[in-house]
Amino acid sequence: MSNITINIDGREIQTEEGEFILNAARANDIFIPAICYLTRCSPTLACRLCLVEADGKQVYACNAKAKDGMNVTTSTETIETERRAIMEVYDVNHPLECGVCDQSGECELQNYTLEMGVDSQSYAIKDVDRKDKDWGHIHYNPGLCIVCERCVTVCKDMIGDNALKTVSRNADTIDNEFKEGMPKDAYAMWNKLNKSLIGLTSGEEMLDCTSCGECAAVCPVGALVDTHFIYKSNAWELHQVPATCGHCSAGCQITYDVKHTSIENSDDKIYRVMNEWNYVSLCGAGRYGYDYDNKVEAKDEAAFANAIEAFKKADTIAFTSTITNEEAMILQSLKEKFGYKLVNEEAKAFQTFLKNYSEISGTSLYGSDLTQTHAADFIVSLGTALKSDNPNARYAFNNAISMNKGAGLYFHPLKDPIIDGIGKNVMSIAHAPLAEEAVLYLLLDLFADKSKLPASVVEYIASFHSEKTVTVEETIKEKVTEIVKVKKVNEETGEEEEVEEEKTSMVPKKISKDVQVDENRLLEIVDAPKNFTESLEKFLAKKESFSLIVGPDLYTHPNAKNLARLVALLEKYSAFKLVMIPSLTNTLGVALICDLDDARGTYTVGYNTKGDFTLSALGNGDLDMPALNQQEGTLTSIDKRVNPTNAAVGYKGYELNDIANALGISTKLTVDYTLKLPTYKGFKAELFDNLPNRYENDGTEVRGYLLDIIANEPSADESVEAITDDKLDGSIIYLANPVRQFSEFTNKSANLTEKSGLYMSESYLKTSNFNEGDTVRVKTQNGEFTTKIISDNKIEGEIATLPTFDSNLNSQALFSGYRFSTATIQGV
């Protein structure tokens, strides 16, 4: 990519070679009308409004690439006529229901109709019956739909569900009179529009997807609406609170849209969550799981006094990572002053992993982020159930593969139809649990620069290779000549007669050949499919930018230390750019801020987790705390960015800072700690109020600040351990949530209705003698419980999953750290 200069309407602007004219214009605040184009997705050419003149030729700005020295005119008389005709066509048969439409003025059809000055209608066509459709969490009103296909595009190119498609409208053909009289592009656009509507890819009734709601967010009109929001509020009444989503480590920028609860109750309530869909895509938890605020009417002084007593008695504070950086800082200050043990297993595992990683890499943090993953063209994911651990990492995986002509490898024991559905350029390798080390060795073998790798590692990898003679069956085409009898009409007599003709044809023929091949036993260990080597060769053609995503399976792996070192070697000696998925919302922040301990002491204060005295933002503890949507503060995301979040709804109780104040660490506001976050760990001494939270027109993320990566002296010892032969036998269970669930907070949301239980794939249910809804006893060496079986068509294979979002189930108790475990599942 090289920088070039193009001229739009007399303005010289800088852009990159190969960038679309529309994106270049938008990045420089030049307005070109367009409805159907979505940044980061492929151009659909449905609306044709972005018609411009480039070097005297009419092109569509959304799919015409900028060339050096190009002259672009955004508006000529012909273009204006086309645009006005296009808007008139969009207005044909569009109901004038603006007064009750849920888009309530945030409507691009309205905006462009006014922009193009449409004050009269020249076209008409008989309307077809277009009935409303209730697709579960999304409501579709085809009457309002202008078939810009943004929903279809975002679902395919960004989300990767492919749940929507265009279906036939069954309309009359357009009157010929119009065809001759109207502008060319407007007619072409109408012709396409008149043939299609939006429908479901599978089935007729319900959306079968990961329920992210992005389709409704990108809808320019009120055709697709979140079912929970129908006729609840007008857009203009809602006050937008910029925030950061508090459900996973992606740290998506969102706005909570709030207004008064009811006529009588003036307290703010969240009505919906919005996002800048051109630059950030949300998952279902972020979009619908907003109502997890802890409603507290007044300060409970007795409970507060008890809490202070408990803190005086306690020697341990146990907590989860669903807290802000500032709260983590308060806990760390408490530890420094009173010597509490800070216990958070999951953050501790990540902290240790990072520490082991940095010994070889020489940097405190992994080098890449999801933005670079979006731009990559070869992506490998390892050790994470991508779609539920971090939906945004999955979107990046899908987006890079569909937009950059990319390819990907997905290493995970749990088969995922969503990942397989991305396309032919993704290969899933369902290795056995505990084989993650072998996968990393394989990746080192395939991608690392062997001249730089430590000799012992190269030698070890070579020990897996062997020469083998195999008999290959090859199909070649052979020329065969035969004489066939053909019936032909004799031209002279006019009669049919048989003639002999010579015919040559290519006939495929199978031959056997003995070939010397290199056999890589690592492929066998990771259960790679037979065609792995050939497919990979195809995948790697013309690839330039490599990205590696590793996830939480590795952090709690029995050989986590070795894995961390292997990951560091891979990042150091191969082209891969590395990103790690922190397990929970602010695991990265907690791992950086707090000195964590291994075990609890005699008396524990729990924060959002059970303790002898429990502080809880879930409302089920001894003292209430504010939830993440009721707090100001910062959250550290997977992109190593410290993002500010704001309080969307009110909170009248005590917060952690009140306890710290009562214990003698005097700070007026929780956000005063933002300035005090440890700079030697990479944080910056920035005031909370100075942190921005927005995207620029060219997509630049101007949010909070990026953590500094602290360089440390890498250890000279780059040795890694060999693969162990450990295996899990019998039925295997995996600790993973269904999509849209992350924690007890998402579980609290009324819109997220996933049930807790033992999730089994449909194929697993068929082969076992269980049915959906059966009560089963799940037993491991660590314990047992009974639960119900839930059928899940978003997983495949014979590994059942147990969710962590329901604390009543207490799934973690069955596992000893590692996310996989052997278990017996018995019917009750």
Partner: protein, 205 residues
């Protein structure tokens, strides 16, 4: 500068004349003389005579409020009314929320939801008359001519809220059937000859 003189001349018409007013007395004797003169002139009885004369004529113009009331102008802006559709009798209000938005004293609130026919339904509607300044913006902005001002100007009750129960504002169905619903003619009402000014959208039927 000569032009300025014409503005200084306040004799707009030659028919204007200055009233001949006696100079005010300046000394004590002058004031005493004026008091004596006014006291014994009998002007008091002139007034009494006029009242007596009008009383025995029995030609009274006073409106006997509250027994009698003056007709109120159609554009008068008193307590709000909610209108119904003439044809079906259903409420005109579609719950668009424009009155709530435009209200400059922020006294209108409504709650909406989806009803069993998948239509937008106004489930609660309230006007805080304690804050309402009767500016008429709500009636002007209403796209359905649903909220209007009525002529009921008597705002005395135990509670102000008594005037703005949604059910009370709505035209009673029997009045509608009897053709007694009055259209508001104030701002926001349809102007005469509207049909002639609208360019019709072509239809393919």
């Amino acid at each position: 500068m000569s032009n300025i003189e014409q503005f200084k001349n306040r004799n707009v018409s030659e028919e204007y004349f200055l009233v001949d007013i006696e100079d005010y007395p300046t000394d004590g004797w002058g004031k005493f003389k004026r008091v004596v003169k006014r006291t014994f002139q009998g002007e008091l009885f002139v007034g009494l005579w006029v009242v007596l004369r009008e009383m025995i004529k029995f030609d009274i113009h006073t409106v006997q409020y509250p027994k009698e009331k003056m007709p109120i102008g159609p554009r008068y802006r008193a307590v709000h009314e909610m209108k119904r559709l003439w044809e079906s009798g259903t409420e005109r209000c579609i719950g668009c929320g424009l009155c709530e938005k435009i209200c400059i004293s922020d006294c209108i609130r409504m709650e909406t939801k989806i009803d069993e026919n998948s239509r937008k339904e106004v489930s609660e509607y309230s006007i805080n008359l304690g804050r309402c300044i009767f500016c008429g913006y709500c009636a002007e902005v209403c796209p359905e001519l649903a909220i209007t001002h009525g002529g009921r100007y008597e705002n005395a009750s135990e509670q102000r809220a008594h005037f703005v129960m949604y059910e009370d504002m709505l035209t009673p169905i029997d009045m509608l059937k009897a053709g007694q619903q009055q259209e508001f003619e104030g701002f926001g009402a349809i102007t005469p000859h509207e049909d002639e000014r609208v360019k019709k959208t072509p239809l393919a039927y």
